[in-house]
């Protein structure tokens, strides 16, 4: 079912394309050796190249190129063997050179595609138009002084990948799914940490609306959409705004708008007429970038298993549901944790324990998986205790939080607390006999046809044995005694 918005005059379709700026994970900047450390004191991560001192020249960081190629491969995209750096000219105090070195006509990565995951296990393919390399600008700070602005150049010159999608996205949910999936892929590849709060991933959203079957409408570009929530809200707001204008007899102006997360509105930054003339031209300080096929092949060999491949493998190899597989592959380390637990064990049981218990308790404690006090080996050992009937699943759920609190192994806790399952049929029989003796009325009722009372007897036995009796043995023995 297509996502449609009901307006006064009928239904409207939404068309969205996204431009994602992703800061490349690298120790130094795109064209200088300066550090890229986030959160350092202002203007301490700045080389004389980044500050555009007279006579300074850019030198391309090969590692950043490798990261862009790796990302392109992860997006199933064409890698262009020749690409060209161009200058995008405009004045702003946090742009020291007076131009940004970017790629324009000849990006390093061409067309690709990714799959996004939607409600109900549905999958949709979104086209990637291109990926290009460019420098980040610095940061202007306007709120520290009544009449002065300050500039922090720490970010100036950091390497960005601008990833442009085709206008294949048709709802806020798809946009969120696209951004989430892209972020997941970049994190898997290790090419961007995807941290939207720190600004290492930023989204511009191009939105237009149209009546189903019509050609593309005029779009507005929404900037500063810097969280998944903001993507959802900004699109909702912008779609409503555009429909209201068109239905009111107005026209959409092609313009750049800014998302204001506090007020929950988009507002105009500049119209097409006011748009900068960036005067792009090839940067004469940099030669065209030529990359060799075997170099690309070498990078391809180092690619990790990507989220979609992993998901399909988890479904096929472990028999997991698409939902469980999706949860487990969302983070690369989570999937690895699961696989360590599942190794040589029942994978569905392992998945349940990782998803429901471990992720649950980590989430409750706002703790990252990497900081989990329970290791994969420890969780596996707990599952082993269930499998070999040392403890019941129920007891295991009591042991688990103790493991989390103490960091102790399951076996040790079971030992210390005397939680070992009772499998000695003689001992269980004795308990059953005493319960039957103590409840003659219920025994009579059960034997008279009240089958449901069986559960009462099980409960009594478990209570008496503090849950340690083997449930299967209890069932068998009870049946024998009661039905005798």
């Amino acid at each position: 079912m297509a996502y449609l918005t009901q307006g006064e005059t009928g239904e409207w379709e939404t068309v969205i394309g996204m431009e994602i700026h992703a800061q490349i994970t690298a120790n130094s900047k795109l064209f200088s050796g300066a550090s890229t450390l986030f959160g350092a004191e202002p203007n301490t991560q700045v080389s004389i190249v980044d500050a555009a001192m007279p006579g300074m020249l850019p030198v391309l960081n090969a590692y950043c190129v490798e990261q862009a190629v790796r990302t392109g491969l992860g997006l199933n995209a064409k890698i262009n063997h020749t690409s060209v750096f161009e200058r995008k000219n405009y004045f702003y105090p946090d742009l020291p050179q007076g131009y940004q070195i970017s790629q324009f006509l000849h990006p390093i990565v061409g067309e690709g595609r990714i799959e996004i995951d939607l409600e109900g296990g549905k999958v949709k393919e979104i086209g990637i138009t291109r990926l290009h390399l460019e420098q980040d600008a610095g940061k202007s700070v306007h709120d520290l002084h009544p009449s002065k602005s300050f500039v922090d150049l720490n970010r100036s010159g950091c390497a960005l990948m601008e990833i442009v999608s085709e206008p294949d996205i048709n709802s806020p949910e798809e946009a969120v799914a696209y951004l989430s999936k892209l972020r997941m892929i970049l994190r898997y590849l290790g090419t961007c940490d995807g941290n939207m709060e720190e600004g290492s991933m930023r989204a511009d959203v191009n939105i237009s609306v149209r009546k189903p079957g019509d050609g593309l409408g005029t779009r507005a570009e929404i900037k500063n959409v810097n969280s998944l929530k903001a993507v959802q809200q900004a699109i909702d707001y912008e779609v409503a705004r555009q429909i209201e204008i068109i239905e009111g007899g107005g026209k959409i102006v092609q313009e750049t708008r800014l998302w204001d997360p506090n007020k929950g509105v988009t507002r105009s930054m500049r119209s097409k007429e006011e748009a900068h003339d960036y005067r792009y031209f090839p940067d004469p300080d940099l030669l065209p970038l030529h990359i060799q096929a075997d170099w690309i092949a070498g990078i391809k060999e180092t690619l990790p298993e990507l989220p979609d491949q992993k998901k399909h493998r988890f479904i096929g190899e472990y028999g997991l549901s698409p939902y469980d597989a999706g949860v487990l592959i969302a983070e690369r380390n989570r999937a690895a944790f699961f696989e360590a637990v599942a190794k040589g064990r029942d994978p569905k049981l392992a998945a349940n324990w990782v998803i429901n218990e471990l992720l649950g308790i980590l989430n409750k404690n706002a703790t990252a998986l990497d900081d989990s006090p329970i290791s994969a080996a420890q969780l596996g050992a707990l599952i082993d205790l269930i499998a070999d009937n040392t403890i019941s699943g129920k007891i295991a759920k009591d042991v688990f939080p103790l493991m989390y609190e103490t960091g102790k192994d399951a076996g040790q806790i079971v030992e210390e607390k005397g939680l070992k399952q009772v499998t000695d049929t003689g001992a269980i029989e004795a308990v059953i006999d005493s319960i039957i003796a103590a409840n003659p009325d219920n025994v009579a009722a059960y034997r008279g046809g009240k089958d449901k009372l069986f559960g009462f007897f099980v409960g009594q036995v478990m209570k008496e044995t503090q849950g340690k009796a083997n449930p299967a043995a209890v069932n068998d023995l009870l049946k024998k005694k009661l039905d005798a």
Binding site: P54, N89, P96
Partner: protein, 494 residues
């Protein structure tokens, strides 16, 4: 005795080696000469303390018996486009007045590593834009040569301060840069040798950019051999400049054999222009005869796109300049207008106050040719013509090993001339810009005097990376021309 300041670099190196005098004495002689010829305005700042300290260090190295550097103890002028560590560097513009870089350009670092001594920062046309050294914010430079009418002449540009200093014997050699002829034309106007090497031979790192794809650092000196010695020191791959080439640096001076047998010298018919003084043609013909005498074969060649070179140059160079000079915005260093109250005013007033007229003109031309709607018609077309000009040279070098042309369409002209008409001023570059567009090496060497007693230069162009042939041919012209005349001011002094 011959004044120390009149020696060639080669002769001074020899004498220093033989301990006939010290680097300090050599430097001191130059410092005194500089003080006596300040009316030329060749230097923006003089750095005698640095010079003497470098000279003393050089003397110490020699005393210790250390291996002498290629330019051990040789006092030089440094064009004020080269950033010098802790020494004001201005590009002769108010926008950089007082700017002190905390870094040393690769070329000057190499020179100093080889023992050279810095006498001061030489004046130039503002941001190297000009052919007369009249666009400097620090005043124009006067050519030590004077015509028979006694009027003050321009030294040429943009490396006018460098050329005037070397000609006036207040530097033994000078660094210079050549974007459209800025080494060769002032060398010709001041009776000196100057070479623009192959693009990528000398690092541009730390040289204030005018037009990145056309800017070539190189030397100006009084002899071809001195240029060869300086260029060897200035050259070499620099990982900090992505356009710097990974090429071995030859011993250029070793190419000065005087023997041109087996060499073919091309004479391009397109360089015979209407309206050029007959004396230019005469000296060109004389040069051809000298080369023939030295065993070269003279061949007629064609460089058919030459007539498009000047307009092509005046699109590409301003386009790159408009972007390269965007960094002078008053935010981080250099001049910032005191009159501005908004960001936009800060930009416009800072740049209006900081840049000179010629710089503003070229920024505007460059901005225009890169603008949406004009880019294809100007910039892209110019790049295509640039390729055709390179193809012209490639084809020509299948027929010859080097090319001989005049350096400039006139001798030095009086200060103030051509100022009213930028196009006329731009014509000075008509013979020189092709080599910048093609990136091939080109050298000017003094070949004679015109009727007024002013020097005229001839230009030798070579194949990319074949500066050795250029030096070899230039050496023959130099030897044949026996150019020994001194500028008038030095004759009086002598």
């Amino acid at each position: 005795m011959t004044a120390l300041t009149h020696l060639s670099i080669a002769a001074a190196l020899d004498a220093l080696e033989k301990k006939e005098f010290s680097a300090r004495e050599l430097t001191q002689a130059h410092i005194e000469a500089m003080e006596s010829r300040r009316e030329l305005n060749a230097y923006i700042i003089e750095t005698p303390d640095i010079a003497l300290s470098q000279a003393d260090n050089s003397d110490k190295r020699r005393a210790k018996g250390d291996k002498a550097g290629l330019l051990e103890g040789i006092p030089l002028a440094i064009k004020d486009l080269f950033c010098t560590d802790n020494v004001q560097t201005t590009a002769a513009s108010n926008i950089l007045k007082g700017f002190i870089p905390p870094y040393e350009s690769t070329v000057t670092r190499k020179l100093f590593d080889d023992g050279a001594v810095m006498l001061g920062k030489a004046n130039l046309d503002q941001f190297a834009m000009g052919s007369s050294n009249t666009t400097s914010a620090f005043g124009n430079v006067i050519n030590p040569w004077r015509g028979d009418d006694g009027r003050d002449l321009v030294p040429g540009g943009s490396s006018g301060g460098s050329a005037a200093a070397v000609a006036a014997r207040i530097a033994m050699g000078a660094t210079a840069t050549d974007t459209g002829g800025s080494i060769r034309q002032p060398a010709a106007f001041c009776g000196l040798a100057g070479i623009k090497p192959t693009y990528g031979r000398c690092s541009r790192w730390g040289v204030i950019a005018f037009a990145s794809s056309l800017d070539h650092p190189g030397p100006i000196a009084r002899t071809v051999e001195d240029c060869a010695l300086m260029l060897r020191s200035m050259s070499g791959h620099d990982p900090m400049d992505s356009t710097s080439a990974q090429r071995d640096v030859p011993d250029f001076a070793a190419a000065l054999t005087g023997d041109l047998r087996g060499l073919k010298i091309g004479i391009p018919k397109e360089y015979r222009l209407d309206g050029i003084p007959a004396e230019i043609d005469t000296v060109w013909e004389q040069g051809i005869a000298w080369l023939k005498d030295a065993g070269a074969e003279i061949v007629d060649i064609t460089l058919p796109h030459t007539k498009h070179a000047l307009p092509t140059y005046y699109i590409i160079a301003p386009a790159e300049a408009s972007s390269n000079l965007a960094r002078y915005d008053g935010v981080r260093y250099g001049h910032r207008s005191a009159e501005a109250s908004t960001l936009s005013e800060m930009y416009s007033k800072t740049r209006a106050e900081g840049f000179g007229e010629e710089v503003k003109r070229r920024i505007m031309i460059g901005t225009y040719v890169l603008s949406a709607g004009y880019y294809d018609a100007y910039y892209i077309k110019a790049q295509k013509v640039r390729r055709l000009i390179l193809n012209d040279f490639t084809a020509a070098y299948e027929k010859c090993d080097a090319i001989l042309t005049p350096t400039a369409p006139s001798a030095a002209f009086p200060i103030g001339e051509n100022e009213d008409d930028p196009l006329k001023m731009y014509l000075n570059d008509v013979f020189t810009v092709t080599a910048n567009l093609a990136g091939v090496p080109a050298m000017s060497v003094p070949a004679g005097l015109d009727a007024r007693g002013l020097p005229l230069g001839l230009q030798i162009l070579g194949r990319a990376w074949d500066e050795e042939t250029v030096f070899k041919v230039a050496g023959v012209i130099e030897r044949s021309a026996k150019f020994e005349t001194l500028p008038q001011m030095l004759r009086k002094a002598a």
